[in-house]
Subunit: 142 residues, 2 copies
DNA sequence: AAGCTATACTTGAGTTCGCAAGCAACTATA
DNA sequence: TATAGTTGCTTGCGAACTCAAGTATAGCTT
């Protein structure tokens, strides 16, 4: 007999919430700063990285893109002048992505409004305590 | 002064977890049943719907796709014979998506392994209590 | 040093979506 | 009953990815 149980309510909500939130956040980010959510994500990683530079492959892994995904995303950011490509002297296979001056400026401009958006759509729905717990629970996942 | 605080830890983890989980789940689903995660999502919605049919637009909204997204996704499921398209008699604008016999069979086959995968990668990381709480927290989001 | 194997990156092809625009049918307003 | 607005659906186009395959470099292993 078929029971109409929904054993994965949390998972479904997880999926729906992601779709709704990324759509809204991405569209705001695009409207105000002409950045994708992924663009922003990459720029922030670089912003906080040692010397504001990272190997492309490490960047890819840290934002969970494939190597080819990062190549194309950086193509865009490079042609906007936000990121520069530099070769590694000790290993000719690797290249670095480096935040340019314009890139630093961009991310500092965008960060504020984006964090406010994240806060509005995501953070503000939880108490500080809940927020911490949610972070802990989600942190078990990757 | 720039403080290196990361005020959105939960949000970043949310994004990363989503990327990692959907990639893995989708690839398993594709390998075993030739279904996308979205395909599966749609089929499940239909499976539990009254008469195993839904207006296409309601289906779109329930899985958070756009109208055009649903058109194309259903194109695929229709050409596989898993879903059929039916017109509405009382309103010529609307069309229904109906699960076919093959569609029912498909979803019943796929459901088991997919739920096991969700359990393995997602659910099993939490106690029943945590799971419930996570569901509640995520439920505030859409 | 010659030959594997692994790593970093790029490129071509294909997929999955969203947005904008358009059509057709319903509804409300005048 | 004309007109205007709304709703459901589809289509053209483009963006963002992934996978598979290819190139070049590095590091072993013998």
């Amino acid at each position: 007999m078929e029971t109409p149980n929904l054993p994965d309510g949390a998972w479904i909500r997880f999926l729906r919430a992601h779709a709704a939130l990324t759509r809204e956040l991405s569209s705001r980010l695009e409207a105000l700063h002409e950045l994708t959510l992924s663009d922003f994500d990459v720029l922030v990683q670089l912003y906080y990285a040692e010397g504001r530079r990272m190997r492309r492959i490490d960047l890819a892994r840290s934002v969970l893109l494939t190597a080819s995904g990062i190549t194309r995303l950086l193509d865009g950011l490079e042609s906007c002048g936000l990121v520069a490509k530099e070769r590694c002297e000790s290993d000719a296979r690797v290249a670095y992505a480096v935040l340019t001056k314009a890139g630093v400026k961009k991310i500092e401009e965008a960060r504020e409004s984006h964090l406010a958006d994240v806060e509005e759509l995501f953070g503000s729905r939880f108490s500080p305590q809940e927020r911490e717990q949610l972070g802990e629970l989600l942190g078990r996942l990757p």
